[in-house]
Each structure stands twice: as structure tokens, then as C-alpha cells.
């Protein structure tokens, strides 16, 4: 690996973030923290092939084979773990986001290197992105802009309703990509769309860029300067090769951080990069976020009395149930929205709750060695049984068994994963599920805090994992 395309190897492999953003990293296995298996190394030594020479088809890369032709599922498990092991330091994040998604619809998107075509794939991922974005950021706004025929094209306006965006996206499915893209035009349109975004929210642009050129009417550097002045952050996902202007654009608008520009290697990687942007961005400097206090209404759902229906103020359609603005009493049919009469932001308290897990992430679980494994026979949460500790290995002594089958990093040899707060053991599936979907630790939630304190007197904080709103809050750091 190292002799082939050394210039792209990030030397600090311990940080998963860096791995994700390494631009044309050759072999994902090598980039997996210390996870390279003997079989892979062999290939790299005698092959030394370039990144683009290696097949990137998922069916070949996802399941690495051992030398005897058996599928190496440990590597697969490592891959799943890698995805969920992320930095769990609570960071200040821009929860209230304003993002413009810019889609390349130029000739370059007709390429078929991503199947079925770049264009079709980008559109379908964009739909997934919209859904995921609003699921993760319910109180945020989104707009979509296209680039084709040298101009910027407004696909959908700034809004908070995923259904509207999806509907507009669907209209473009039948059309073919055409013409040149224009970065400058698109960015200017984004500036316009984000001009009115309030100062407490983020202003972001995400560009999916398939072309290697941009036909601009003026000097794009002026536009970049304006973007910086207006504190708009730009991220780019490239589909063909690295383009200097995109790199500059990203690093200048992200205070010198060049990790926001990535080039997708294959379909899976593209999706990963694309959807990574649904996580709220970290606020790096004080200037990027002006914290402010927002007045919001939390209306309750009410039913019109006696089965009657009345008009809602937002769509002027008759509806039976709705929400009354807590300030002026106007009826709206859908949340979150802004009161059409008095302009108060109306949200459900559950919308706020949905964002909390970004602020207070669930701490990672650790692998359990065989020595500790004996005290559990089944996963605490789903009750599927664990493999039994190998008795033979114990007698022989560890040092013999360990190097013979060194599991990839992040994979527990005993198939158990432990939450360090409550000390319960879990299986890989529950580990993934708890960290990716629930954001709760089943063990911590299943015992009261006194019980947790009694069970684990050594852990400093007795608060349950991921439930640190009151005690953890002070630790939130501004990374600047």
C-alpha cells in the first residue's frame, strides 16, 4: 500500500475522521485502523496497484476472503464497528441548519462509472439524503439547486418539509443531464438563498460535483471571498477526480479545514460521503455561531370540537385536527412551521428531543476479551447467546492463541461488547443498533441510577450512558 500511492496516506490512522476524508486512499482495508490482514498485505506487496486499478465493486470488497477462500467475516464485523466508532466527545454542533444541496446536472453526470448513471444515482441518494437530513435535523431548513446548461437552476426553495423537496426532486428523474456546470452561478444562488438565514443557525452548501470543469461568468474567487464573509461553509463531494478550485473552496470556507472535500471511489463510498453530511456540523470557531435565544411555541394537538373542520392558516385547507399557535391562536396543520400570522416558530418538543443525541452521544462500547467473557452467556438486550469461552485456549496460554487469529481492531474476540458505565455485555447487532438508531444504552436504561452506582462504583459519573443532559452539559467543548 505504502509504496503505491504514498502521497495520499494519512499518517495518523487512528482517527476515523481522517480516514473518511482521505481523498484517494487506495485500499480501504489499509485505512481501517491497523486492521490490515495478512492476505491483503501480500497483495499490496507484490501488486502495488493503483487505486483506480482496483475493482471497487461492493461484492468484491465488502467481504474480504481469507487465503483459504473462506469469507472473512471478522473483517466485515470490523467494518461495521468502524462505522459506529466515532468520537463521542460532546461537541458544540450547529443544530439549527440551513443547507443548500447543489446537484450537478451537467453532461458529466451522464457517465456510467457509477451505476446506473451518476445522475440517477445522485438523484436517488439525494432523496435518501433529504429524508435522513430531516430525520436528523427536524428544525432545519433545506433548499436544492441544480447546475446545468451553464446556469444554476432552482429545484426547490428553502423549506422544512421533506415531502416538498422529494416531490421536486422526482420531477428531475426523467430529465437528462446536459450542458456545462457553473460553480459560480450555483454558489451565487446559494448566497441568495442563505442571505436571510438567521445568525444562530448554520449556513451550509453541499455540492455534488461530477464535472472536472466549471464555466463561470466571472471570477469565482470573488464569490469565495463573499462566501467567507457571509460565513457560509461549503462541502463538496466529487465524483471523478480532485479539482483544485473545489479544494480551495472548501478549505477557505471551512477555516482552513480541507476535510470537507472528498471524492467518491464507488457507490458505497459515495453514499457514505453524501449521507455523512446529515450529521450536524461541529462549530469550530466562535464566529461561526452566534448563540442566541429563540422564542418557540410548543403547541398541543387539538381536535376541532364536535367533529367539525376548520381551515388551517398555512395551506388554507379544511382539516379536523391541527395545532394552535401558542401566541396568536392561529391554526396550522403541520409542524414544524412558522406561524403564518405572528411568525413564531412552532415546533413539537419531540423535534428538539430528536436532536439531543447529537449533543450527547452514546459513548462507545469496548471489546471484551475472553478472560472477562465468562460472566455472560447471552446478549443483555436481545438475549441471543454468545459463543462459549474456548476452554482449550485457556489451558494453552494466551500468547499462543492470540497471534494465531488476531482479530481486526474493533472486533471483540469473544463477540461481546461492553458498556463501560453499566458493565453489561452486548452483541454486535445490538451495539450497532444502539449507536446508530436508538442512541440509548439498553443496560444503563434498564437500571436506575442508584443501582448503576452500586454496580459500578468505580466509574466517576453515575449518569447513564448517553443520558448526560444534566451532568454532561458542562463538558461541551468549543473546538476552536
Amino acid at each position: 500500500m505504502a509504496d503505491s500511492d504514498g502521497e495520499f496516506v494519512a499518517d495518523d490512522m487512528s482517527d476515523d475522521d481522517i480516514m473518511d476524508h482521505t481523498v484517494t486512499d487506495g485500499d480501504p482495508n489499509a485505512a481501517r485502523p491497523k486492521g490490515s490482514k495478512p492476505a491483503k498485505r501480500k497483495r499490496d506487496r507484490n501488486g502495488g496497484s493503483k487505486a483506480w486499478e482496483q475493482s471497487r465493486r461492493t461484492w468484491e470488497t465488502d467481504l474480504p476472503e481469507e487465503s483459504d477462500g473462506m469469507l472473512n467475516l471478522a473483517g466485515y464485523e470490523a467494518e461495521r464497528r468502524r462505522r459506529l466508532l466515532r468520537d463521542t466527545t460532546p461537541l458544540q454542533r450547529g443544530i439549527i441548519r440551513h443547507l443548500v444541496l447543489v446537484l450537478d446536472m451537467s453532461f458529466a453526470m451522464a457517465e456510467k462509472d457509477l451505476l446506473p448513471t451518476r445522475y440517477r444515482l445522485a438523484l436517488s441518494y439525494a432523496a435518501a439524503f433529504v429524508r435522513e437530513y430531516f430525520e436528523q435535523n427536524p428544525i432545519s431548513q433545506l433548499a436544492i439547486v441544480g447546475m446545468r446548461d451553464g446556469v444554476a437552476l432552482r429545484v426547490s426553495d428553502m423549506g422544512g418539509n421533506p415531502a416538498e423537496h422529494l416531490e421536486r426532486l422526482r420531477e428531475y428523474e426523467g430529465q437528462d443531464p446536459s450542458g456545462n456546470p457553473s460553480l459560480q452561478n450555483a454558489l451565487e444562488m446559494c448566497r441568495g438563498a442563505l442571505f436571510h438565514a438567521p445568525s444562530h443557525g448554520t449556513r451550509e452548501v453541499l455540492i455534488i460535483y461530477g464535472a472536472l470543469l466549471s464555466s463561470d461568468p466571472g471570477d469565482i474567487h470573488d464569490t469565495i471571498n463573499n462566501l467567507v464573509a457571509e460565513r457560509i461553509r461549503v462541502s463538496v463531494v466529487g465524483l471523478s477526480a480532485q479539482v483544485a478550485i473545489c479544494a480551495e473552496l472548501c478549505s477557505r470556507t471551512n477555516v482552513g479545514d480541507d476535510s470537507q472535500y472528498n471524492v467518491a471511489m464507488d457507490e458505497t463510498h459515495f453514499k457514505e460521503l453524501f449521507l455523512a453530511l446529515t450529521t450536524p456540523p461541529v462549530n469550530r470557531t466562535k464566529e461561526q455561531s452566534t448563540a442566541s435565544l429563540l422564542m418557540m411555541g410548543f403547541p398541543s394537538r387539538t381536535l376541532a370540537p364536535g367533529g367539525t373542520s376548520s381551515y388551517c392558516a398555512c395551506h388554507s385547507q379544511p382539516c379536523r385536527e391541527g395545532y394552535l399557535c401558542t401566541r396568536c391562536g392561529v391554526k396550522v396543520c403541520r409542524l414544524p412551521s412558522e406561524c403564518p400570522a405572528c411568525g413564531l416558530t412552532l415546533i413539537l418538543s419531540t423535534h428538539l428531543a430528536r436532536s439531543y443525541h447529537h449533543l450527547f452521544p452514546l459513548r462507545n462500547w469496548v471489546e471484551v476479551p475472553w478472560a472477562e467473557a465468562a460472566r455472560s452467556t447471552a446478549c443483555f438486550s436481545c438475549q441471543s447467546p454468545f459463543p462459549e469461552p474456548p476452554k482449550a485456549n485457556k489451558e494453552k496460554g494466551k500468547d499462543e492463541a492470540a497471534p494465531a487469529k488476531a482479530p481486526a481492531k474493533g472486533v471483540s474476540e469473544s463477540g461481546r461488547y461492553k458498556c463501560q458505565v453499566c458493565d453489561h455485555h452486548f452483541c454486535i447487532d445490538c451495539d450497532v443498533f444502539a449507536h446508530m438508531v436508538i442512541h440509548n444504552c439498553p443496560g444503563c436504561q434498564s437500571q436506575s441510577q442508584q443501582a448503576a452506582a452500586a454496580a459500578a462504583p468505580l466509574t466517576d459519573g453515575v449518569e447513564a450512558n448517553g443520558n448526560g443532559h444534566t451532568t454532561n452539559g458542562g463538558m461541551m467543548a468549543i473546538d476552536g
Binding site: Q92, L293, F298, E321, R354, Y356, P442
Partner: protein
């Protein structure tokens, strides 16, 4: 007549008989049950629930159940009961029909010829687990008015997730690990029924909501039958997951409520009219005084909710100095807020507030 009708397509779809996994979360707060004892004792409630469980299992032999107790200080599995480390491990992670491990075998009474074997197994497992649970309850535990609901929900979700994975085995495609494919129907019709008797615990708000969003994400409906207590969170949970929320006015009729209101699973609900959520309380508690408010101030950094702007405009949770946003820019705003506070305190007069504030806005 002589032409082949090409417009007619013969589609072969899998008959929709995907198994349905019912998880019952039983609130076992001893104090609340003691209060209810005159109308419905815990033992009666459990036998009613068991009939409901049997009814669910009767639908198809692919259906499964799990029963979880949300106790005052922990959440535990009642069925399938946690296997003890000493007993022989059964290589069988369904743990459902093939419960043949030593401990279960010895504790089981001789099977009766008058009962479906599976029903008898569940019954004995639930009763023995709940006895152990009650025996382990200490006097201090009785002080608590709330239960570990979030834990029980989390456990139930983990199990449904595991069952779904075992069925779909989507693990060959890594891309599915990312929760994107929300349109495809889940391989298991998961459902959680909560039998609630106690209040919602405000300190569990975030974990409970996390569980609710996970349920909504996995298309698992959370149904609630509330026998006593004020279960605001569960009301919101049912609303968010398209579940049914029933408030039992007469707890004695638990079986009827269960059999009538909660028997249809997600498949049957597609063709049945379900009770609507008429009014759902979505007001929230502020972080500073714990008051329930309908209009509040939210810190843009940490999303803490305050009933009044905090002193020195400094967020009490994260310590950030907050600008008063575009709302508080004008000094005229401050007296307005005080007025509002009073209005909220007496809870009525929303319309008046609206008219009073509507005009001075710039």
C-alpha cells in the same frame, strides 16, 4: 377474444405472512399497583395480559412474544427469561419454542393436556420471573413513583431489531447498515404494547424519546393502555409511531381493552379504523424551573428550553452567552414577556396574548 391480453400482468408476490413480534412492556410499579388493587390486582392484570398474549400467538405459529417488566429500579425480561450463566447454553437464539435448557425444564410443572404447550411455557416463565422480581424489591424501591420505561422500550426494540435481522439477514450488504432504506417494509411486524400505571419520569425524557424515534424509524408501533397515572411521554410516543393510545377509565376491563382495542397488528390496522389521537399534550417542561410551558426560549446551542430568558443571557446548561436573537432585539419585547408569563400561569387566554402581541411587532 382471440388476442392475448398483454396488459394483464401476473405478479407473484410473497403472501404477506411475515411474522409479527409483540413485545409487552408491563409497568410493575408496586405502589401504583397497590393503589389499583381494589379494581384490578397485578395478578389479575397479568392473567389478562397472558390471554392477550395467547390470542396474539394464536394468529399464526410464526408470531412471537416478549414480555418485559418495567420495574421501579430496572427493566427485566419476564419472557423469554434471561438464561442463567450456569445453565447449559442452547444453540438457539429464538429462545421461543425450543426452550429446553435445564433450568426451564426443571422449573416447569408437568405439562397439562388442557393447555397449548407454548402458552403454558410462557405462563410459567412470566409468573416465576415476576415472583423473583417482587422478591428482590426492597423497601427503598417503593418510594419511587416512576418506572424504568425507557430501558424496557430499549430492550424491546433491541429484540425486534435482532429478530428482523435474523429474518432479513441483510448483513451481506453493508450499505444497509446505514438507515436509509425506509420505504421497504420491515421483515417483522414489530409492535410494543405498554401497560402503564405510573407517571412519566421527566429525567427519562431524552432516553424515552430516543427509543420512540428508533421505533418510528424501524416502523415499530408503540401502543399504550394507561390504567392509571399521567403518561404524557407515552402519549407522545404513540402519536409519533402511529400507535394506539387508550386511557382505560375502568381498569377492571383490562382484558376487553386489550382484546378489543389492541389486538389488530399493523397488518390488520391497514384495513381497520383505529382510534384517533384527539388531543395530544405536546407542551414541554422548561429546564430552569421545571414548569410546563407552551411558549419558551430555546438555546440555539444546546436546545435547552427556558421559560424566561436566563439571567445575564447566559445559558444555564451550556454556559454560552446568548444573544436574544431577532426576537429580543427591541427593548419593547421585555414587558411583553412578563405579561405572557402570567398568561401561561393561568393557562388560558391564549387568544388575548395573540392579539396583544400581534400589533407591536416591527
Amino acid at each position: 377474444m382471440d388476442a392475448v391480453d398483454v396488459s394483464e400482468h401476473y405478479e407473484v408476490t410473497a403472501a404477506d405472512n411475515s411474522p409479527s413480534l409483540l413485545s409487552i412492556v408491563l409497568d410493575t410499579n408496586p405502589r401504583a399497583w397497590a393503589a389499583l388493587d381494589s379494581s384490578l390486582s397485578l395478578a389479575q392484570a397479568i392473567s389478562n395480559i397472558l390471554v392477550f398474549v395467547n390470542a396474539h400467538l394464536a394468529f399464526s405459529n410464526a408470531n412471537q412474544v416478549a414480555v418485559i417488566a418495567a420495574h421501579v429500579n430496572r427493566a427485566v425480561w419476564l419472557y423469554p427469561a434471561l438464561q442463567h450463566p450456569s445453565s447449559t447454553t442452547v444453540k438457539d437464539n429464538s429462545g421461543d419454542v425450543q426452550m429446553h435448557d435445564a433450568s426451564a425444564e426443571t422449573s416447569l410443572p408437568p405439562p397439562s393436556a388442557n393447555k397449548y404447550p407454548q402458552f403454558a411455557q410462557i405462563e410459567s416463565s412470566v409468573f416465576s420471573s415476576i415472583q423473583t422480581l417482587m422478591a428482590e424489591t426492597t423497601v427503598q424501591d417503593l418510594d419511587q413513583l416512576t418506572t424504568q420505561l425507557s430501558g424496557a422500550l430499549t430492550l424491546a426494540l433491541c429484540r425486534i431489531n435482532k429478530a428482523a435481522q435474523a429474518l432479513s439477514s441483510s448483513d451481506t450488504t453493508l450499505s444497509n447498515a446505514a438507515p436509509v432504506n425506509a420505504t421497504a417494509p420491515p421483515p417483522v411486524k414489530g409492535r410494543i404494547v405498554v401497560v402503564s400505571v405510573s407517571d412519566s419520569d421527566p429525567s427519562q425524557y431524552i432516553p424515552t424519546m430516543n427509543a420512540v424515534f428508533a421505533a418510528a424509524h424501524n416502523q415499530v408501533a408503540i401502543d399504550t393502555i394507561s390504567l392509571a397515572g399521567d403518561s404524557t411521554f407515552l402519549q407522545q410516543a404513540c402519536f409519533n409511531t402511529n400507535g394506539i393510545f387508550l386511557k382505560a377509565a375502568n381498569p377492571r376491563g383490562l382484558l376487553t381493552y386489550l382484546m378489543f382495542g389492541l389486538i389488530p397488528d399493523t397488518e390488520a390496522r391497514a384495513s381497520l379504523i383505529t382510534p384517533t389521537h384527539d388531543t395530544v399534550d405536546f407542551r414541554t417542561a422548561c429546564f430552569c424551573h421545571g414548569k410546563v410551558v407552551d411558549t419558551g426560549y430555546v438555546c440555539s446551542v444546546c436546545l435547552s428550553i427556558f421559560c424566561t430568558p436566563p439571567d445575564n443571557a447566559e445559558c444555564l446548561t451550556c454556559g454560552t452567552v446568548l444573544a436574544l436573537g431577532n426576537y429580543g432585539a427591541k427593548p419593547a419585547v421585555l414587558p411583553r414577556k412578563k405579561k405572557k408569563k402570567k398568561k401561561i400561569a393561568n393557562g388560558s387566554g391564549r387568544e388575548e396574548t395573540g392579539s396583544a402581541t400581534g400589533t407591536p411587532r416591527p
